[in-house]
């Protein structure tokens, strides 16, 4: 096959190998994009205009920590980390539902313009994640689904 001679194959041969992580790879990749979004967004908000809406921007910062922890826990997903994954993914789901509802029905409750998902006081959870194509609403469900399907974690399976 010509594929065995491809540049990709040659580069790949020089790298460490990891196989069989399956759909977890995709889940973690999407989580990492949201980590980047939440950390970047909240860091900018805190540096640039924290006093404009301290409550909304604090929630934005908390969401960044939750995504970071959830992602780490999903990657490790072993022993106590499996429980951490469940807890953080659940907090994430509660966050997008509660913050989503507040920002949708009481647009100024968390500070000026906090109901605008594209504004500068928005969190990733504002209006159920509208600013991120509602990915924040679906992602925790995908995370829970994966956790449910892999109760022992894939590494435990591989070890046997």
């Amino acid at each position: 096959m010509s594929e065995s001679k491809s540049v990709t194959a040659r580069l790949s041969a020089a790298m460490p190998r990891l196989v069989g992580t399956g759909t977890l790879t995709v889940l973690v990749a999407v989580y990492l994009v949201l980590v980047m979004a939440a950390v970047g967004r909240s860091a900018f908000q805190i540096i640039d205009h924290f006093s404009k809406a301290p409550i909304a921007i604090s929630i934005s910062g908390v969401s960044a920590v939750v995504y970071l922890l959830a992602t780490a826990a999903l990657i490790i997903h072993k022993g106590a980390w499996y429980r951490v994954a469940w807890v953080t993914v659940s907090i994430e789901f509660a966050g997008v539902i509660v913050v989503g509802a507040i920002t949708t029905f009481w647009p100024n409750a968390l500070g000026p313009d906090s109901g605008n998902a594209f504004g500068d006081t928005a969190t990733v959870w504002t209006v159920f994640g509208q600013g991120y194509w509602f990915v924040p609403l679906v992602l925790p469900l995908a995370g829970m689904l994966w956790l449910r399907k892999h109760p022992a974690g894939i590494r435990a399976k591989a070890a046997r």
């Binding site: 594929e3 491809s6 540049v7 990709t8 194959a9 580069l11 790949s12 790298m15 460490p16 190998r17 990891l18 196989v19 069989g20 992580t21 399956g22 759909t23 790879t25 995709v26 990749a29 999407v30 990492l32 994009v33 980047m36 970047g40 860091a43 900018f44 540096i47 640039d48």
Partner: protein
């Protein structure tokens, strides 16, 4: 930022993202086509970084926050690189889907950068 270059980049990132997503779901392993598409996206992003660095010097000033713009600029550059390194470590179909996710994220982030650059 330069309008035509930005939108050409967004189109290419979208196309590369969709291509990888489709091929990944179809069960293809990372190959020169999917990796090449993402490499093209990365090279264009380097050109974009250079463009953004010299634009203010030649009278093309951003209207929005420069800090926010550069946070996006740095992050968007890292994204395809991470996805490509991952695809080299795990040569499975899901790595191609990850390349696709990265491509789509790049397209969205470029659009956000354009909004920051042009809108007050």
């Amino acid at each position: 930022m330069v309008a035509w270059f930005t939108f050409a980049q967004i189109a290419i990132a979208l196309a590369a993202g969709l291509l990888c997503l489709v091929l990944g779901i179809a069960g293809r392993k990372p190959g020169d086509l999917t990796m090449g598409a993402m490499a093209l996206v990365f090279v264009l992003l380097v050109a974009q970084l250079v463009t953004a660095a010299i634009a203010p010097g030649v009278g093309n000033h951003p209207k929005g926050s420069l800090l926010e713009f550069w946070m996006y600029q740095v992050a968007v550059l890292v994204l395809p690189l991470l996805a490509m390194v991952w695809a080299l470590i795990e040569r499975g179909r899901w790595s191609v889907v990850v390349l696709g996710v990265a491509g789509l994220a790049v397209a969205i982030m470029l659009y956000r950068m354009w909004v920051i650059w042009t809108a007050a």
